[in-house]
Amino acid sequence: MKKIFIVMAGTLAAMMAAASAVAAINVFACEPEWAALATEIGGDRINAYSATTALQDPHRIEARPSLIARVRNADLVVCTGSELEIGWLPILLTQSGNAKVQGGRPGNFEAAQYVSRLEIPKVLDRAMGDIHPGGNPHIQTDPRNIAKVAEALIARLAQIDAPGAESYRSRGKAFLERWQAAIARWEQQAAPLRGLPVVVHHKAWTYLEAWLGLREVATLEPQPGVPPSPSHLAELVEGMRREPAKFIVYSAYNDPKAAGFLSQRTGVPAVLLPFTVGGTESARDLFSLFDDTLSRLLSAAQGKGSK
């Protein structure tokens, strides 16, 4: 027993020494878009890690040991919030033994707090599917939200890492300037999309629709979080005969079968959108995420979607 303790203490000391040698600010992002945003603002001063990839459903993530290890070493946890990560983030936080990143501390950043959320349910009942009391959490599909979150994140990074405050502010300012210019460009490009009816797999595109003026006419999931059922898809085929949509939108982590089935039956093109950074090959950063999203929507609207 005594020997084990000595070995443990020795390992502990060695590991602590190793940890203190690393200087960069460790940012644990729950989703790839926040890792990308933190990198835009922080540059080399930070070390951003994304807990999930674009191919994973952020609602359903296991509280894996590797994630606990990352949270344990994080100086800042950046997540969407609005109960998106409720099934796994609280466990990571309590298991991490890291006081800095617990809720309410400066090291805990919830992006959804800084934007005005849509679809806040007036009635909470789980019979209505996987609904979020705090509103729809998929805020990153509107670039104007990213700008709002960026402003808050600049301030937060400056608070956590005071010596780098100037760097975060100047990098952040430069990013926001480029971002606002990009938004203006995207809005101009997206003008032909205004008012187009769209069917979505999951209610993941509410903010994109609000931004571009797309009209959501149906969802492939019968209720949020409930996988598409054959009977629901049959209803959609019927419904789209009466009210045709311009395209069927799904994201990289959705099973493409449902969208493909509906597309085949109705002739309405199914469009894969990146949803977040890494969702498609072209969506490598935040800018190319929206470049790719728009180019996919526009080509669908002009091409096969014109019939």
């Binding site: 894996r64 806040i120 705090g134």
Partner: protein, 479 residues
């Protein structure tokens, strides 16, 4: 409608007046006059048309402005509503700080070829605890009520009360844990599921099968919850590594007697360590090693000796249990929405060394004491495959080895092995197959079939149909 109905009478009036005036003048006027008149009429007509067009344009503009005003008013109203909802989504008043509350309900239908009331795991007695399978027929399972919340910036509290179908309430877990310690340290105090092996820490509603592995039944009395405290440290490495130490009262099997001794200090210690990480983006793993040491006092159990008399025997010993556990979870790209696979296994090895007292009540051949030494082991391996959304199929294999128990009373010739039929060497096995359906994270219906050879020479075919639901706060599940 509005536009055309206004315009029609105007044009009609104009045409009518033109008609009458031209008709009247035609008789007297010359060709020149007529020409002039026509010109005047044309000018008049042009003038009216221009005026009408102007009016129409103004009307259109006015309508547009009104429409815009209306839509911006609607938008403003929508925003106001959203703001109101956003504000109201935080409850105010005393209730605002209520803890997260959840309730678990479950019910089972059991169809067993052997009567569960005489369930035993031969070679591994006494196991104590709730090791028997569910009842025959319809029965309510254990219901749970759980409260948890952050207490302040330092602590988090959890209370889980179990309501047994026999109308008794027990405290399953009641502990506080620190939030405020740093450098990877965590402290937990109260009653909690001991971190020995993998399955022991998992709440019943999150089990992948209706019942516990045989090894957990015989070595941990189904599920070990200690009163005590646990200190754990997570290493600052990207590879997950933790070590921890628990000090407990020894209130339950394998400690004992039930409730623990009235003694200062502690009755059990558990030292554990885990390593964990990812393989690519699809797989995550964790392996663990734990060592539980308990001091057994007066572990009493019943047996039937060679004279056919029911006797009560008792063990006092040092119990040392080693557990190696491993779990691997896989999903394509780490996305478990459609398909996923979970592989889990544990190996247990226990040594007990001490004294056995035969016939403590002197009901048969008289009270006698001798040495007691047992080396026992067991393991299980289970796989659960989610083959499509909401549906999972699982298989589990259990195997135990009772080894040979060394009894001083038998070796010395005072008594014979026939006086301790319970210690006859045996290797219980069990095969279990299950299929479950979960409509979301809060409900599950499971069908399970097992062939249980825990009783020497008898196969028990067990069929269970079970529902498990959870209401209220969305508790997350550990890996």
């Amino acid at each position: 409608m509005f536009r055309s109905s206004n315009r029609a009478p105007a044009i009609a009036a104009l045409t009518a007046s033109l008609f009458f005036s031209t008709a009247h003048d035609a008789h007297a006027a010359s060709d020149d006059d007529l020409k002039e008149l026509r010109e005047q009429v044309r000018q008049l007509k042009d003038l009216y048309e221009k005026k009408i067009n102007e009016l129409e344009a103004r009307l259109k503009q006015a309508e547009q402005t009104a429409g815009q005003a209306k839509s911006s008013a609607t938008a403003a109203q929508a925003t106001a509503e959203q703001v109101a909802v956003q504000a109201s989504s935080r409850t105010a008043g005393e209730g605002a700080f209520n803890p997260g509350i959840s309730a678990i309900l479950n019910g089972v239908y059991g169809n067993l070829s052997q009567n569960p009331t005489n369930y035993r795991i031969n070679g591994f007695v006494p196991t104590m605890g709730e090791v028997a399978p569910p009842n025959r027929g319809l029965s309510l399972g254990e219901s749970e009520i759980a409260f948890s919340a952050n207490i302040d910036r330092h602590f988090r509290g959890t209370l889980v009360a179990a309501l047994a179908p026999e109308d008794s309430v027990s405290v399953e877990e009641a502990h506080i844990q620190t939030l405020g310690l740093s450098n990877g340290f965590m402290l937990k105090a109260g009653r909690f599921f001991s971190s020995v092996g993998y399955q022991n820490e998992i709440h019943a509603h999150a089990w992948d099968f209706t019942d516990m592995p045989l090894a957990n039944k015989v070595f941990l009395g189904n599920q070990l919850a200690e009163d005590g405290f646990q200190i754990k440290w997570v290493a600052p490495t990207d590879l997950y590594a933790d070590v921890g130490l628990e000090f407990g009262r020894g209130r339950k099997f394998p400690g004992g007697p039930d409730g623990g001794r009235m003694k200062n200090g502690f009755g059990s210690t558990n030292l554990f360590a885990h390593l964990g990480g990812d393989w690519g983006t699809g797989a995550a793993w964790r392996v663990g090693l734990s060592h539980l040491r308990t001091r057994v006092h007066d572990r009493a159990f019943n047996d039937v000796d060679s004279t056919g008399t029911g006797v009560t025997n008792s063990i006092g010993a040092a119990s040392r249990l080693w557990v190696i556990d491993g779990v691997l979870k896989w999903a394509p790209n780490g996305n478990a929405s459609n398909t996923s696979f979970k592989l889990q296994g544990e190996y247990f090895r226990r040594t007990e060394d001490g004294q056995l007292t035969y016939d403590t009540a002197a009901a048969s051949l008289g009270t006698q004491s001798g040495s007691y030494l047992s080396k026992q082991s067991g393991w299980y391996l289970q796989g659960v495959y989610q083959f499509q959304p909401e549906w999972r199929l699982g298989y589990r294999y259990d195997r135990l080895d009772s080894g040979t128990t060394g009894l001083g009373l038998v070796v010395g010739g005072a008594l014979t092995a026939a006086d301790f039929p319970i210690f006859a060497s045996y290797r219980p096995t069990r095969n279990t197959l299950m299929l479950d359906w979960s409509a979301g994270e809060f409900s599950r219906v499971r069908l399970q079939f097992a062939r249980d050879r825990a009783r020497a020479g008898i196969a028990d075919n067990q069929l269970f149909l079970q529902y498990i639901i959870s209401m209220g706060a969305h508790g997350g599940h550990k890996f």
